[in-house]
Subunit: 341 residues, 2 copies
């Protein structure tokens, strides 16, 4: 971030670089089972379906959402296998959303690879997304829990609603911080929350446990998204797997832009408005925008907000017993925000 | 089926023009309840959602699929109200599919009106489609029948698979009649079948009744689609609510094209191939194509196949008691094919 931060009283580790290694190690065996379900259930007699789905699913994502289901199940000492199918379900919903997002955003690069819509076209991305979404519901029905179905069908509706909400906020610099938090809660945090919550359902734990895990996932999702917003202005496609400035060029009003617009001088405000309206989208415009976002402290403060949410996620785990699972979940939250440095 | 089979042969009427009036009258009160559910459940705090969904839902469709659920429930003397929510569910799935279809086909006109993607853009159509699809699952979960969830989630997956299958067959004149029937079964007939089948589920009738209604819906769906294929070459946008030649210009290989290609002389075969490959898509090309399709009897024979399927649909009702509901369902099948004259 360039700006030296003062020491604060926070359990979020600053001295060492937190990583996802502990959570990945925790769920490695379970994740193999989930991967088997994913591979088996993305098959179809129509070859384009596994081809296109495989491009995205095999594309090096962190599988953060199924990982959360598995890690939360470990936290609860769940000994069954139902969570394997349900974690695959969550990943299918996420993958379907990504396929449609890329069509909506006309993205060209995701995780450093060409997006499916660039290779196979928008039509295929829309329809294979629909297939994966339908298949996810089939998997849930096979599991047979109406409670899980309720949680995930509601999450899906909220996600779609959030996507439309974001679409209508697109290129509107007046978007408030509150509305933006609503949008990313719906777009990202709700599926993180559901992924964690269903672990409590399969483990047949009480409502308070469900709620605590929901909170952990929800705040973690917000933290991840806010850091992604920062990274979009400071990354390059080669090292971060995402084109810097994607959000900027799409006219997406993210929190760094909202904060900078509130603080910048008149000329810079005009520039930001024009940029978000699509009138300034050259490379040099991105450089100027990033300069404004840094100069006003908007990037640093977005990262600071992300740290607050990560801390809330960690706090939501307070009632759970210490152990490998809890430590791994805590470090995942630390990792989410450490990416912004 | 618990009902004595009658030996009565119900021939497809040719003398009078069959209509949907009887089935619409049969379900009018129920359909009001379904419309209330549809209107209530397409609402959202994001105004674009009811705006866009309303454009399509209020756009003058026949609501054929929910009508089938309601009419089949009448056939079984079902006295409850669960089918209202489920019929709305079926319409939401159908509407979501239409929204995505229009993006995939880049259509400009549906039922004589501009398509949503032309007015609001592809992004909005994709995302509102996703919302309606998710909402449909929420409605099913509220109903709480895992059997209904299984039927409709499976139907949704098959529909999406069929859409991808059709996409990969696009512009391929070698598509076989068998593959084409597979595609339209998946794309159209499976949801007709599911709409009918769920009536038997809510009425708690035995598997044979479910299967008979499934067959009725399935064959009716194929008949409707085949007649639509014919109409696409003989209608005009003003009178039929669909642009003539949409399929032709999209390079869609429908049954009339398959039959004509098998029968035409070399020069016409070459022309059809080039047309389907997108090299001949001017208005005069459509005129020539229609001439070939008429001259080879391909349009007439597609209509003849549609009549066979309509007859099979009617035959599937043989075991049900005579009455207003059965007559209305029979006339709906007669109507499906009468449109081709």
């Amino acid at each position: 971030m360039g700006t030296p931060m003062t020491a604060t009283v926070t359990p979020i580790r600053r001295e060492a670089q937190p990583s996802l290694d502990p959570i990945m190690a925790l769920v490695a065996a379970d994740m193999n089972a989930v991967n088997s379900v994913i591979l088996a259930r993305m098959q179809s007699d129509v070859p384009l379906i596994p081809e296109l789905a495989g491009h995205l699913i095999a594309g090096g994502g962190k599988r953060m959402r199924p990982m959360l289901t598995l890690a939360c199940a470990k936290l609860l000492d769940y000994a069954g296998e139902r969570h394997h199918k349900l974690a695959a379900t969550v990943e299918f919903i996420h993958t379907a959303t990504l396929l449609h997002d890329d069509v909506v955003d006309q993205s060209g690069l995701r995780r450093g690879r060409s997006t499916a819509n660039m290779i196979w076209g928008n039509a295929a991305s829309v329809l294979v997304g629909d297939f994966l979404f339908s298949r996810s519901f089939e998997l849930m029905v096979e599991d047979g829990s109406l409670r899980v179905l309720r949680i995930l069908s509601n999450a899906s509706a909220v996600i779609a609603e959030g996507e439309v909400n974001q679409l209508t906020a697109q290129r509107r610099i007046e978007t408030s911080e509150e509305r933006y938090l609503e949008i990313i809660t719906a777009k990202t945090a709700v599926l993180f929350a559901a992924a964690c919550r269903i672990a409590a359902v399969v483990a047949e734990r009480e409502a308070a446990v469900e709620d605590a895990l929901d909170q952990y996932g929800r705040y973690l999702g917000i933290a991840f998204q806010l850091v992604d917003d920062v990274i979009d202005y400071v990354s390059d496609g080669a090292t971060m797997g995402k084109d810097a400035g994607d959000d900027f060029r799409d006219g997406k009003v993210t929190l760094p832009v909202i904060l900078a617009y509130a603080r910048a001088e008149a000329a810079d405000r005009d520039f930001l408005r024009e940029a978000i309206e699509g009138l300034r989208n050259e490379d040099e415009d991105l450089v100027r925008a990033t300069g404004i976002l840094r100069g006003t402290g908007a990037l640093a403060d977005t990262a600071a907000r992300a740290r607050l949410y990560a801390q809330r996620a960690i706090d939501a785990l307070a009632g759970f017993p210490s152990g490998q699972a809890k430590s791994a979940l805590i470090e995942a939250a630390q990792f989410a925000v450490a990416r912004a440095y």
